[in-house]
Structures are given as C-alpha cells and as structure tokens.
C-alpha cells in the first residue's frame, strides 16, 4: 500500500502540474488563434473578390463530401459582383479544401487552395498557377478533367491525376451549387439583384 502511494504520488503531481501548464497555455493562445483564423478567412475572401467594396457576407451553408461548407456574396455598392463558395474535393491522400469565386455571369473568376495534404513533389503540383489558372473564365460544362492537351477543358497535371481530379470535382460541385442557387438570375434576363 505504501509502495503504491510512493510510486503514484510523483506521477500524479507531474500529471497535474503538466495539465495546469497546458491549460494556461491554451487560455492565452486560444483567443489569439481564433482571431488569427478569422482574419485569415477575411483576407482569403477579400482576395477572391478584390473589387468588392462592402464586407463579404455569408449567404448560407451547403454540403459536399458530407461536410458543411459556407458560401458568400460579395457586393460593391450593393450590387453583387461575385459569389464565393468554400468547397473540397477528394484528392489522392487528403481532402483538398478550396475557395471558388464566380462572377455574376456564372464564370469562374478565381480558385484558391486553402488546405491540402497531397504527396509532396507529385500531388502538390496542383497548387501551381499553371494548373489553377486553367479554371479562370470557364463555365460549368467546361469543367471536365482531361488527360492531355486541352484549352477548352481542364488539363490534368501529369503524375498528379488524382489530385487534379480532386480539385476539379471540388470546383465543379461548388460551381454547380452556385449556378443552382444564383444561375437562374442571369437567364431571366434583366434580373439585377441576384435572388434565390
């Protein structure tokens, strides 16, 4: 009995003190982290729609890969100039998280990868501008991944087909969702304000 206490007591003391140290660190770092994350998000959204003069507002949530993501409306002087959606696509070894911006004519204006964990040297080539810039100016039917030369569609990065597919699928889902939500607006002619 005495032995048990002699062995356990120092261990318990270490655990408790360590717990306190971690709790205190968390106490001080957590608010900073939340702040930084919020600011990062605002900055990323702002980059997706540089012409926006008003603060970019969340417009709702949607689901892809069984996870909820948000989408946003960017406006300048009250007029909608871009819809932005958070999205993700399944790559080779991770879900590639992205932001996709659509101009009011439902063409992609920008794609930005927020987070991914693809193979260094192979899969992470989808981060390169030459791949992501292919999406710019394309509309929904054009977002098809092709292995080989293409100007009309999206050309997969050789050696990173799965990752390319992940990005393309994620973008496609997001564009589909935004077109379903806002696309009707352009077809019914003189629709100025985008409604649902």
């Amino acid at each position: 009995m005495k032995d048990i206490i002699k062995i356990t007591f120092p261990l318990v003391v270490i655990f408790v003190v360590a717990g306190v140290i971690m709790a205190v660190t968390y106490q001080y770092t957590h608010p900073v982290r939340v702040q930084a994350e919020k600011k990062e998000k605002e900055l990323a959204l702002k980059e997706m729609a540089p012409q926006a003069t008003d603060p970019i507002k969340p417009a709702g949530t949607w689901t892809v890969n069984n996870k909820p993501y948000e989408y946003y409306q960017a406006t300048a002087g009250g007029k909608p100039i871009a819809s932005i959606a958070e999205t993700a696509g399944k790559g080779y070894s991770s879900y590639i998280k992205m932001l996709v911006a659509l101009s009011p004519d439902m063409k992609i204006s920008d794609v930005k990868v927020l987070d991914m964990n693809e193979t260094p040297g192979l899969g992470d080539q989808v981060l390169e501008k030459s791949f992501l810039d292919q999406f710019k100016g394309k509309s929904l039917p054009q977002i098809v991944l092709i292995k080989g030369e293409t100007k009309e569609n999206i050309q997969a990065v050789s050696g990173a087909t799965y990752s390319s597919r992940g990005v393309t699928n994620g973008v496609k889902d997001a564009v589909q969702m935004l077109v379903d939500k806002y696309g009707a607006g352009i077809k019914t002619a003189a629709a100025q304000g985008v409604t649902k």
């Binding site: 002699k6 356990t8 120092p10 261990l11 140290i21 660190t25 770092t29 982290r33």
Partner: protein, 210 residues
C-alpha cells in the same frame, strides 16, 4: 558520458560524434517523412530542438522526484506537455509555419530520440549538462534533417527552400518515401566513410559511436 566531460565536448558530441540521425540512428521515421524539402526539415528541426531541450531540462530537474518504476510515463508526459505548448503557441502566433508542419508537431511526442536522451542522459545528469546535451542533440537533429532535405529537394525537385535552381526534376524518386530511405542510407554510408578516411574514426554509425 558523465559529469567530467566538458560542455563543449558534450555539444559537439550531439552534433557530430553521436548525431541522432546518422550516428545513433534514432528517429529515422520522422527524418524520412519530413525531409522532402529543406524548409520542412528546418522547421521540424527547430521544433524538435525546443522540445528536446525543454524535456531534458525538466527531466533533469525532476530526476530525484520521478520514481524509477514509473519513469517512462513521466518522461512521455513531460515531452507531451512541451509538445502541446509549442503546438498551441505556433497555432496562434506562427500561422504560416503551422500550416506547413502542424501535422508533424504532435508526432514529436513519440520520437525515440527525445525519450532516449531523457532516459540515457538527463535522468542521470545535472541541469547544465542536460541542457547542453539537449541543445547539442537538437542541433544535430536539425542539421541532419536539413542535409537530407537539401539532398532530396535538390535531386527531386531541382530547387532549394522552394527556390527553383534547376529547370527540371532530375530524380523525382528522391522526394518520394522510397527516396528518403535511399538518401538516408547513402548519406550515413558517406559520412561513415569520411569519418574513417579523414578523422580516423571507427565509422560505426548506426550502432553508436565511441
């Protein structure tokens, strides 16, 4: 390795004579996993240097308090505490770095090299030598990771620290996990050969020098 060794020797020992990766052959798993680029190797090395030093210091301070029968859980918990501290701090104050290596930080808890320095050195030595040993081993680990990173990134991507130097990719396999093992083996062999040839050592890397 006892108290009569000068601190300078102790430091040099950690960096060269008993380099954790090339000499003691410990923590090879993370050394292969994160060295696909120089930058990753460097960042990982810095994180390990911090955790290593803090763990050594803490274990040394508590060496008469920790009951030998439960020393391993104690060491692991001390390591885990410092890893959590640096993880939380980085997630708040070093966002850019954290994005690149947040995934690897938590793994430091299970690094053989940290546990082994606590067990082999810090638990038997006073504060100052333990501190120096931690710094020395940490710097040794950092240099080894960077060396591997230079080798693999240059061959695999033709770049260093993300800056493109060669136009193409001379040997893509170098940044794949397989290439990590090749790089590690070649480098360990090369260093042993150099040690034997120029410094008159026994070149006994991988099994402990001296």
């Amino acid at each position: 390795m006892s108290n009569n060794v000068s601190l300078g020797t102790l430091f040099k020992n950690g960096v060269f004579g008993e380099n954790p990766v090339f000499r003691l052959a410990l923590s090879l798993c993370p050394a292969v996993a994160v060295t696909s680029g120089v930058k990753n190797g460097f960042l990982m090395g810095v994180a390990v240097l911090f955790v290593m030093t803090m763990t050594n210091v803490t274990v040394s301070l508590l060496r008469n308090f920790i009951n030998p029968k439960v020393r391993i859980p104690s060491y692991v918990f001390i390591t885990a505490t410092w890893v959590t501290v640096i993880d939380l701090w980085m997630s708040a104050n070093q966002r850019a770095v954290y994005k690149d290596m947040g995934l690897y930080i938590m793994l430091i808890v299970a690094f053989a090299i940290i546990l082994s320095r606590a067990e082999m050195f810090a638990s038997k030595n006073k504060l100052l030598p333990s501190f120096v040993d931690g710094v020395g081993m940490g710097v040794g680990f950092l240099l080894a990771l960077m060396l591997l990173g230079v080798f693999r990134e240059f061959l695999g991507k033709g770049s260093l620290w993300g800056a493109q130097i060669l136009p193409g990719k001379p040997l893509l396999i170098a940044i794949m996990p397989t290439g990590g093992f090749f790089a590690m083996g070649l480098m360990m062999g090369g260093l042993n050969w150099m040690d034997r040839k120029f410094f008159g050592g026994t070149g006994g890397g991988g099994g402990g020098h001296h």
